[in-house]
């Protein structure tokens, strides 16, 4: 199949979707280049699934338009369906059918030629490490096996554009790494992938382009490197034994840092591109000021840190954090 007349794999603009009083999407623009991985990164309720459902023709946007593989998702839904695969947030496979039967059913409904169906099912079972259980009813599969079968089902018609809604949620580390590798292989073969995730690490490792979604809008966008450049590659958290001590520590170390340290209650959070160096300097300064932290955490930034940096809120909560409300943040 030859696609692409210069149009991107996904081109959406001004998507709005409302459910009752909830505005799930409030003007989302997306462009996904052919052959790339695009990650929608956001916390629970951000609107990721809603965006995927619009792009996969499951629901109509209230406003705005989207083209997938060059076709309009509302007016040319059928043409879009010939060119997409979706693995939704919950594994949508028939528990009473075997792995093979599930894939063959999808093959038939995806209008594959009859002779292609059985070999394709076998090939996918192999690829997703399910060839040891092709003839077992799926209800006997583990959660990870079910999830892999679900992704395999989305791949049956070799869709040029693949949508994965939180593909690795609930997978163990090994399964997750395997799925990441599979996604990379697919992309190397020419598939374009749109995935959603709550994990910054996943977006970082897998995606060429990341859009951070919050309450139905995209609040930041770019390559993983660009996003992280705003953020620092290391987060250092110092727990002090009182708010006063924390406030003092905050001002003691401030001069040292490119980004102003943040304080939340008795915790001081420092982000930096030069973690180890900064850590040593920070501890020296604190020692000199006779401020001894009770806890010390050094880690990579999480989605929550991205959120805090971008919105002043924690990603899990809809309440503005103490930082933003008392104006302590730069």
């Amino acid at each position: 199949m030859t696609l692409g007349t210069g149009e991107p794999a996904v081109d959406a603009s001004g998507l709005h979707k409302r459910f009752g009083h909830t505005e799930a999407l409030r003007g989302v623009d997306l462009r996904v280049a052919w052959g790339s991985v695009f990650a929608l990164l956001g916390p629970n309720g951000a609107g990721k699934t809603t965006a995927i459902r619009v792009l996969t023709t499951l629901i109509r946007p209230d406003a705005g338009s989207a083209r997938v593989a060059g076709f309009d998702v509302v007016r040319q839904a059928r043409e879009v369906r010939y060119r997409i695969g979706l693995a939704g947030q919950n594994a949508a496979v028939d528990p009473n059918l075997t792995g093979t039967e599930n894939l063959r059913l999808i093959g038939r409904l995806a209008q594959l030629p009859r002779t292609h169906i059985a070999p394709r099912a076998g090939e996918l079972l192999e690829r997703f490490q399910l060839s040891h259980a092709p003839d077992r009813a799926v209800r006997t599969y583990s959660g990870g096996m079910r999830r892999r079968l679900d992704v395999a089902a989305a791949l049956v018609p070799r869709p040029p554009v693949l949508f994965l809604d939180e593909p690795t949620t609930g997978l163990d580390l090994q399964s997750r790494n395997e799925l990441w590798n599979t996604i990379r292989e697919l992309v190397a073969e020419g598939t374009s992938v749109v995935l959603t995730t709550q994990y910054l690490e996943e977006a970082d490792r897998l995606a060429h382009h990341v859009a951070v979604v919050d309450r139905g809008v995209i609040i930041a966008e770019g390559t993983p490197a660009e996003l992280k450049a705003q953020l620092g590659s290391t987060v250092i958290e110092l727990g002090l034994d009182s708010e006063q001590a924390a406030a003092r520590s905050q001002s003691v170390v401030a001069g040292l840092l490119a980004r102003a340290p943040e304080r939340e209650d008795s915790t001081v959070r420092i982000t930096s591109d030069d973690g180890p160096r900064v850590l040593i300097d920070v501890l020296r300064l604190l020692d000199a000021a006779e401020l001894i932290p009770t806890t010390l955490t050094v880690r990579e930034p999480s989605l929550d840190d991205v959120f805090l940096a971008l919105t002043g809120r924690h990603s899990e909560s809809d309440q503005p954090s103490a930082l933003a409300s008392n104006g302590a943040r730069p």
Partner: protein, 276 residues
């Protein structure tokens, strides 16, 4: 990555005529639903045990106390009612099946595929009809074992059984709508029973309508379950046994089947389109 046309690996997808695709897709869905019956035989066993218990109970426990006008043996009167009762309760399977598929997200996956829009419901109701062929055959055997005898020609008996099948098909569409609207298997079962119970029990299935209080007779005589049972009795016992006319009764029963289909099939399809 954007400018030049990119060649994407893709299995050649077949573009079929819409009618051909609709039939094939419905067939694929029906196949999948029938596999479920084979793999989860409890579904079939429990839906047939209950009518068998009814046969034994009414034939041997209550039957002796029930007098049928016209001197028809009670077991002959009973079995047409049992056939219809069995398929009416069995039709709940459509609600349970569709609600389950809705809940697991399977319907959503189907809707991202370039398949025929009618296939999910057509496949569901076709699979239930095939199941009913089996169930009705089984109930005929059970009937014969407890002394059920027909009094008419083979052709009429077959017509009677086909009428039961047609009615079951119409009822499947009613329950397809219920399942999609309710969206939860347990709830749809709970919602269906209070509607079905009066239709099945306030009918001529187990006792002659003339034995009921007058205020109930009007309903019990003319509601669809009774209309179908009466026509099936005409076709298996002969019209003189019911005091009606086979032609008129059959037309009434067919009209009910057609009416239910005409109302509920489009409603179910409409509901399907806006559900997922």
């Amino acid at each position: 990555m954007t400018s030049a046309a990119i060649v994407i690996p893709s299995a050649d997808i077949e573009r079929r005529l819409p009618v051909v695709a609709a039939v094939r897709d419905a067939g694929a869905i029906a196949w999948r639903n029938l596999i479920t019956y084979r793999r989860v035989p409890q579904l079939l066993v429990f839906s047939t045990i209950q009518p068998v218990i009814f046969v034994l109970m009414f034939r041997y426990v209550f039957g002796g106390a029930i007098k049928i006008p016209g001197g028809v043996p009670y077991v002959d009167f009973l079995m047409p009612g049992i056939f219809v009762q069995t398929v009416v309760f069995g039709a709940m399977a459509a609600a349970i099946g569709l609600a389950t598929d809705l809940k697991t997200g399977l319907l959503e996956r189907f809707r991202t595929l370039p398949m025929s829009r009618s296939a999910v419901l057509a496949g569901r109701t076709l699979a239930d009809m095939s199941r009913n062929v089996f169930v009705i055959a089984l109930m005929v055997l059970v009937g014969v074992a407890v002394g059920f005898r027909v009094h008419t020609s083979m052709l009429e008996v077959i017509a009677g059984l086909l009428l039961v099948l047609l009615f079951s098909y119409a009822m499947s569409w009613v329950f397809a709508l219920v399942g999609l609207a309710v969206g939860d298997p347990e709830t749809s079962q709970a919602a269906a029973f209070p509607v079905l119970a009066p239709l099945v029990f306030a009918s001529s299935a187990f006792v002659p309508v003339s034995s009921m209080p007058t205020w109930l007779q009007g309903f019990a005589l003319h509601q669809p379950v009774s209309a179908v049972i009466t026509a099936v009795r005409d076709l298996t016992l002969g019209a003189q046994a019911t005091g009606g006319s086979t032609g008129t009764d059959a037309i009434q029963a067919l009209a009910w089947c057609a009416g239910i289909l005409v109302v509920f099939a489009p409603l179910a399809v409409w509901r399907y389109r806006r559900t997922v």
